[in-house]
Amino acid sequence: MKEVVEIVDRTSKDLGVGKTINPTKVLLDLGETAAYPPYSGFMNAMPAYIGWEDSAGIKWAGGFLGERKALGFPYITAMILLIDPKLGFFRAAMDGAYITNMRTGAQTASALKYLVNKKKIKLGLYGAGMQGHTQTQAISVLFDIDELRVYDVNRQASEKFAQDMKDVVKGKIIIADKPEDAAQGDVIVCVTQSKDKFLKNEWIKPGTVVFPMGSYQECDDEFILSADKIIVDCIGQVMHRGALRGLVEEKKLSEKNITCTIGEMAAGLKEERIQKDERILCLPIGTGAMDVAVATVVYNKAVEKGIGGKFAFV
């Protein structure tokens, strides 16, 4: 995880100065929101070129309820393809779900590096699943988590999380009985599949950075509209997906409300560290660049160690 945080941070810097090419992802809607076809799912194609690694590829990832859930697979499915950017030759195909989970955690950690001033932080976490684990692991690479309050609709999941993370979190892990009890700390991270805007404006105190990482709606509109700063990874993308989408469609929010990108902070072009009286909304929704960057390091290591299989497609 330490390495993934470094890769993500480095790639973020490159995004800030235009040394990474990351076109807006394209969505194949298979019934997630569209009426047809009826598969309660979607796939995204997310290509990128990474300057510092001189690597290119695509993540092909999506989520399905319905049949996939019935088979016992996790919600997310993902594959990554890498090519040689000089000549276009195929390099590798690999699973992308684990990389997605790792880099999503790392994105939060990397963004926090430029948003808070202290080394010791208190964390509020919504969602004690896989993403809750990787978010916590990644943040603990760069920070000492002094206190962690976790809330999950399934209390057993919170208990398992507390057990799993007891060596990762320096301070105490508190299992919250009510959602509002977890809304305390310097940082609030939401990794749920909620669509019901559970995180209320009045719970969030000044001096807090909030990361709604889910694909749907975790924060209420009042908080989004009253946050002092909105910082994102990719402006084009956040307008169409995730926490801001509804308000953008209602024309209550536009690109003008975005303070800056994480890449601009990482590259030193913008300085937006939180003030005591401020509340910041941060949205690293996830770019193909991060997946391709991490996959490239995985590929290099696999080649070096002779891990994986080889197959000649051409």
Binding site: P23, L28, P37, M43, W60, I83, F313
Partner: protein, 330 residues
């Protein structure tokens, strides 16, 4: 579950051109009937025209879902302009095919051969609906891989009395004629100039990477069908502008690349001048050719749904074979 891995040699062995044409026809019909989901492709530019990072290449991500073939997936296809001069292929592509309702990757396969086959197959489908009855003469400009796939596919649909082939490199045209006579028993001959391939031909296909007019309007006889394939501008602008019917594979895409983009950007062409998309014609929503005197121009850039549909067809042929490689990604 596991994922089937298919290389070009295995794919070549199982594809039957006649069937590939049927697959392409089903894909176009699906477009016309509204049972194909295909967002616009996105382009990752890696110095396509020499800019940073200076690799003279770009990659398209082309996702699609084709209901009638139960096919869902993405093609990741790259074009590298300077590869041919290094003796390397211009097009490189890989396809991930997924289960339509779970997203599970059922296959990863080479996409270069499938791209070539489906491009030829799309021409055959277009010609089936848009060429005059019993076309006897086929003219091809450009004697590369695509030309071979086109003649193979068109040969499945029609019996030509003569095939004329022109290429800026005459030796390539001669070689093509010999090869195709041997393979298909067609009466193929190399001609010296483009005009000789066009005049008197019932179907004219341009498959080059030229960005200049190779076919002039005045060379066309009544009843001609002109097929412009790929992302380049190869026709006298009077052909798309003044044809009796102008047909495309996908209008949205035609506004970004291919034969028509310059005319659209210059304000000379707009959607009102388009007769229809090929899918509407195959699905019977619009008539195809209506008489033997119409001049019809069809511009087929290539659509991802054809790749995914063809990949599913290949997968179905390979999936029960014993000598196939499988890998468990998850």
């Amino acid at each position: 579950m596991d994922t089937l891995l298919a290389g070009i040699d295995q794919i070549k062995k199982v594809i039957v051109m006649k069937e590939a044409v049927e697959v392409a026809e089903a894909v176009f019909r699906g477009h016309g009937e509204g049972t194909v989901v295909m967002p616009p492709k996105i382009n990752l530019k890696m110095g396509e025209n020499g800019e940073w990072p200076h690799y003279w290449g770009s990659s398209n991500s082309m996702p699609a879902y084709v209901d009638s073939l139960e096919a869902m997936g993405v093609k990741f296809a790259s074009g590298y302009k300077k590869n041919p001069e290094k003796g390397l292929p211009f097009i490189l592509a890989t396809i991930i095919l997924c289960a339509k309702d779970t997203g599970y990757p059922i296959a990863v396969m080479d996409g270069t051969y499938i791209t070539a086959v489906r491009t030829g197959a799309a021409s055959a489908v277009a010609a089936k609906y848009l060429a005059r009855r019993n076309p006897k003469t086929l003219g091809i400009i450009g004697a590369g891989t695509q030309a071979r796939m086109n003649i193979r596919a068109l040969h499945e649909v029609f019996d030509f009395e003569e095939v004329r082939i022109a290429d800026i490199n005459k030796a390539r045209a001669l070689e093509f004629a010999v090869e195709m006579n041997k393979e298909l028993g067609v009466n193929a001959k190399a001609v010296d100039v483009n005009r000789q391939a066009v005049e008197g031909s019932d179907i004219i296909v341009t498959v080059t990477v030229a960005d200049e007019p190779l076919v002039m309007k005045e060379w066309l006889d009544p009843g001609a069908l002109v097929l412009s394939l790929g992302s380049y501008q190869e026709l006298d602008e009077n052909i798309p502008l003044k044809a009796d019917k102008l047909v495309v594979d996908n209008w949205e895409q035609s506004t970004h690349r291919g034969e028509l983009v310059k005319l659209i950007n210059a304000g000379k062409l707009d959607r009102s001048m388009l007769y229809g998309e090929l899918g509407e014609i195959v699905a019977g929503k619009k008539a195809g050719r209506e008489n033997d005197r119409e001049i019809i121009c069809a511009c087929l850039i290539g659509i991802g749904s054809l790749d995914i549909g063809t990949a599913k067809y290949v997968y179905d042929k390979l999936k029960d074979k014993d000598d196939i490689t499988r890998f468990k990604f998850y």
